[in-house]
């Protein structure tokens, strides 16, 4: 009986200790400096990709990288506030397709790989971005 108590309290202690230690996705991504680096690299790769380079032609890439960083930071539980327009307005008139959306995802994946973000963490971030497909893609 006593052993059981010890085990249960150890489990409870562990549970809270683990939870206290559990990193937020924001932390796992390496917080703002690393997230910013990833976004800069994602845009760089996109500019080299003929499938989607044209969608960024008229963008201020520095500003876009900052907006993406703020957005990611806020989505993943970091201390930021995204102050850009919503996703639908941001992409209206670009005529973006699923192919365009996925091309950007592929560059984001590569940028995260280059920063040694684990695959699990990468997918957790993609899970937050994936529903934006509805607002970004027009046809």
């Amino acid at each position: 009986m006593r052993i059981l108590k010890v085990i249960i309290s150890a489990l409870i202690f562990n549970f809270f200790a683990l939870n206290a230690n559990a990193q937020s996705l924001y932390e796992k991504l390496g917080e703002n400096p690393k997230i910013h680096k990833i976004m800069v690299r994602t845009l760089e790769l996109s500019m080299e990709d003929e499938r989607i380079a044209f969608t960024l032609e008229r963008s201020d890439l520095d500003r876009l990288a900052q907006l993406l960083t703020d957005q990611t930071c806020e989505l993943t539980g970091g201390p930021c506030k995204y102050e850009g327009v919503d996703m639908k307005k941001a992409h209206v008139g670009l005529g973006l397709t699923t192919g365009h959306f996925n091309a950007l995802v592929e560059h984001l994946q590569q940028a995260m790989r280059e920063e040694n973000i684990s695959n699990r963490t990468q997918n957790q971030l993609l899970a937050l971005f994936a529903p934006m497909h509805r607002d970004v893609v027009e046809k």
Partner: protein
């Protein structure tokens, strides 16, 4: 209804089989040739064109044993290939399963149209080896069947709807026809051709790097159809296919399949099929799936366990 569909199929089917057979010959050498052709094709395809492979890698699945998009033994609701709603994809596959007493092979072609419709053709052949002699049908006797499949995605987006519980749902049918009519009838099968109907639900849970899939299949196929369809006492019954896979990287997926099967034939008990597999996507044109499988007892020959290898090439 069934009869009408069947007679319609019968007419068109013969010519179609001739054409497809000439493309995928029963001989593997021929398939290798097709695969080489398929692999050299993408260089000729424009990045913005119909074959631009806009889907994310691995999200078309691989060719399952009946030729549909799925994993090893189970059909998924995903549409095969890398075509988005604005494109299409074409795959060729060859699968070999080396079992304790038998060898099962499957070759096929599949097409995904606008991430909505999937059409597939597979030819399967099942070499009985020495067991053929024990069964009295002759050493190395080979059963074969053709399978034509169609699948339609009804609702849901397995990858994008990460904020919803709704999976991607598709319905489909397989027309299966035995190449050994007299023998499968002699073994007790009621029909020498038949339809399978299924509904499939697949969900990618990105937050957990998981893919979960379940399919309900109405079928009377004995050993996937290799031993004919139904029997004097049984016809279509409902069966389940379940699959869970973990995405280690975008290119490396590993998982398990479980599939229940009918047990129609009086002479030989049939059991559920299981597999544990690893699929590696070299790129969007080539993938290799390796698996350990357990297909249970087949034609009175004890536990049929073995090794499964499947190569898929596409554009």
């Amino acid at each position: 209804m069934d009869e009408l569909l069947r007679s319609l199929f019968e007419k068109k089917y013969k010519r179609l089989v001739c054409i497809i057979r000439s493309v995928i010959s029963v001989h593997f050498n021929c398939l290798k040739f097709v695969m080489l052709g398929v692999m050299s094709f993408p260089t000729a395809v424009n990045a913005e064109g119909l074959f631009s492979q806009g889907k994310l890698i691995a999200t078309g699945g691989v060719s399952q044993v009946e030729g549909a998009g799925g994993s090893g033994l189970t059909t998924w609701a995903l549409i095969t290939g890398y075509g988005t709603n604005k494109g299409m994809g074409v795959n060729a596959h060859h699968t070999a399963v080396w079992l304790s007493d038998f060898t099962l092979q499957s070759s096929g072609l599949s097409v995904g149209l606008f991430d909505r419709v999937e059409l597939s053709f597979a030819h399967q052949w099942f070499d009985t080896g020495e067991a053929g002699a024990r069964l009295g049908i002759g050493e190395g006797f080979t059963f074969d069947q053709d399978i034509i499949g169609a699948k339609v995605r009804l609702i849901g987006a397995a990858v994008y709807d990460q904020d919803k519980w709704l999976p991607q749902i598709a319905i489909g049918a397989n027309y299966k026809r035995s190449g050994d009519k007299a023998l499968v009838a002699a073994l007790g099968a009621a029909n020498t051709d038949s339809f399978d109907y299924y509904v499939s639900a697949t969900k990618v849970i990105l937050d957990q790097s998981l893919i979960l899939s379940a399919t309900a299949r109405l079928t009377e196929a004995n050993q996937f159809g290799l031993l004919g369809y139904g029997s004097a006492t049984s016809t279509h019954t409902l069966h389940g296919e379940f699959s869970a896979a973990y995405m280690f990287t975008p290119k490396l997926v590993a998982g398990i399949d479980y599939r229940t099967k009918p047990d129609n034939l009086a002479f030989a008990e049939e059991q559920d099929a299981k597999a544990a597999y690893v699929a590696y996507f070299f790129n969007k044109n080539l993938s290799l799936t390796l698996a350990g499988v357990d297909l249970g007892t087949i034609a009175l020959q004890g536990k049929q366990r073995g090794f499964y290898a499947s190569l898929q090439a596409g554009f």
